[in-house]
Amino acid sequence: MRYAMAMDTKKCVGCSDCVVACQTENNVPEGYCRDWIVENTAGTYPHLDLELRSERCNHCDNTPCVRTCPTGASHVIEGGIVKVTPEECIGCGACIQACPYDARYFHPDGYVDKCTFCDHRVAKGQVTACVAVCPTKSLTFGDLDDPNSEVSRLLRDRKWKVLAPEAGTKPHVFFLT
């Protein structure tokens, strides 16, 4: 079992529905977010390319955040999902410094918070909140170890990239281009 997400940059319209769905589902405090939209414009005027991405924790294979955690609060659970146990977190900030994607933040209650790949929903056989609400179906969640899953199929058929591959974290959120 290895959970992963494919994010289709060609379908995304940047509506931020995934952001709001996550905030609602996970009671994310006001002013914070576990996923977010990035608008990337590149090229030479007037020949510009616009790419929209819905970004979140990449649930990496090589997890610098888990490695630097002094208490073991940051850990990896079944399926490669990276999680934080609030009762073990001392709020030192080491994992925030270690993440190349700045995907973690201090919850106002003091502990470190981040995307959980909605493991509480996944355990019930549902997909994550962001995937469930996406109006253009640009987000796909599934098991990479299953060659017949939708996410495996997309990664076979489409061109894709990951963010900051040079950081060497082996991210598991893939961006279809």
Binding site: N40, G43, P70, C92, A94, I96, F106, G110, A164
Partner: protein, 329 residues
């Protein structure tokens, strides 16, 4: 011209627009941690070399400061935690992958040992301060009163008899503590300015230099001052070598590392680093110490203060600048 414009919808406190989660507490701790490591290192080293009576200040007197500055550092560390009530979680596990776990355990061990070391020298400390103010004397009386409690006296007497062993344990822990102040930062793969293994030796050397400066400032014997002034000169030379090494490493590396180096080579930290750290903190004190060795009379407090200010500034700049550097995608 090909350009790239990235607009993020994320605006989280302390994370955006640039990471800013570590403030004054961490650099202050890195400074006092390095200073304490140096004081403990020199006391243990010269004790093992059998020069305790000759270099009184470094072996017997200056280590009094070590537990005091460690406590200041611990207070800063606790203030830095956002979930401080859970700090004891550090001591429920040992995680070899995490430098912070190493640091927490080292601090937990070195803290009591740094208190015990000066307590084994109470007689010498009383002798050394016999002409001091009444307040100093009453503090010494107070501490003497505590260690004369029977159970504590047994412990202190045991350690006094085993001072040689204590010195070896201290010297090892002091090196770990000194290196740890640099390794803490270098463990973060995501911050290119920190992610270099030279930071461990660099922070250790800088810490030892600040410790040597304190000892040389405190010492009443000309001979000891000259010895520590020479040690300090050597350490400053090594430190400058490491800093050059650091930048050469960055400039020979990938684009994010080059960008990190450019913060100091024309970027926003250029002026403060080259004048504050290099000139005021290293080159001027080294020049003054050299002049002193050639017979010019220079008040020892001037190079000592400059080195301490430079060391503190260096850590503030490194922590601040490191959080600015990142992988951009």
């Amino acid at each position: 011209m090909k350009e790239e414009l990235i607009i993020s919808g994320r605006n989280i406190p302390f994370i955006d627009p640039v990471l800013n989660i570590w403030h004054w507490q961490i650099p202050l701790y890195l400074f006092v941690g390095g200073l304490a490591a140096a004081l403990i290192f020199f006391s243990a080293y010269f004790y093992i070399r059998g020069r305790g009576d000759e270099l009184k200040t470094s072996v017997q007197i200056a280590p009094i400061l070590a537990p005091i500055v460690i406590v200041i550092g611990l207070i800063a560390l606790i203030l830095d935690l956002r979930h401080p009530a859970y700090f004891w979680q550090l001591y429920t596990t040992i995680r070899f992958d995490s430098p912070m776990s190493w640091g927490a355990w080292t601090l937990g061990l070195i803290m009591p040992l740094s208190v015990i070391w000066p307590l084994t020298y109470m007689k010498e400390i009383r002798e050394y301060y016999k002409n001091s103010s009444n307040m100093t004397l009453s503090i010494i009386d107070f501490v003497d009163g505590i260690i004369n409690i029977r159970i504590i006296k047994v412990i202190i007497d045991w350690f006094t008899a085993k001072r040689y062993l204590l010195a070896w344990v201290n010297i090892i822990l002091a090196v770990i503590l000194g290196v740890y102040t640099g390794i803490l930062l270098s463990a973060f793969n995501a911050r290119p300015l920190w992610n270099t293994s030279i930071l461990g030796p660099l922070f250790l050397t800088s810490g030892l230099s600040t410790g040597a400066a304190v000892i040389m400032w405190m010492s009443r014997s000309v001979k000891e001052r000259i010895i520590f002034s020479r040690i300090d000169l050597l350490l400053i030379a090594v430190e400058i070598f490491f800093i050059i090494h650091l930048f050469m490493g960055f400039l020979a590396s990938g684009s994010v590392q080059i960008e990190a180096a450019e913060l100091f080579l024309g970027g926003e930290f250029t002026a403060i680093f080259w004048t504050g750290v290099m000139l005021i903190g290293l080159i001027i004190p080294a020049t003054l110490e050299t002049m002193e060795l050639f017979g010019y009379h220079i008040p020892i407090s001037i190079p000592a203060i400059l080195i301490l200010v430079g060391g503190l500034l260096f850590r503030f700049i490194m922590v601040e600048a490191g959080q600015v550097t990142r992988y951009l995608y």
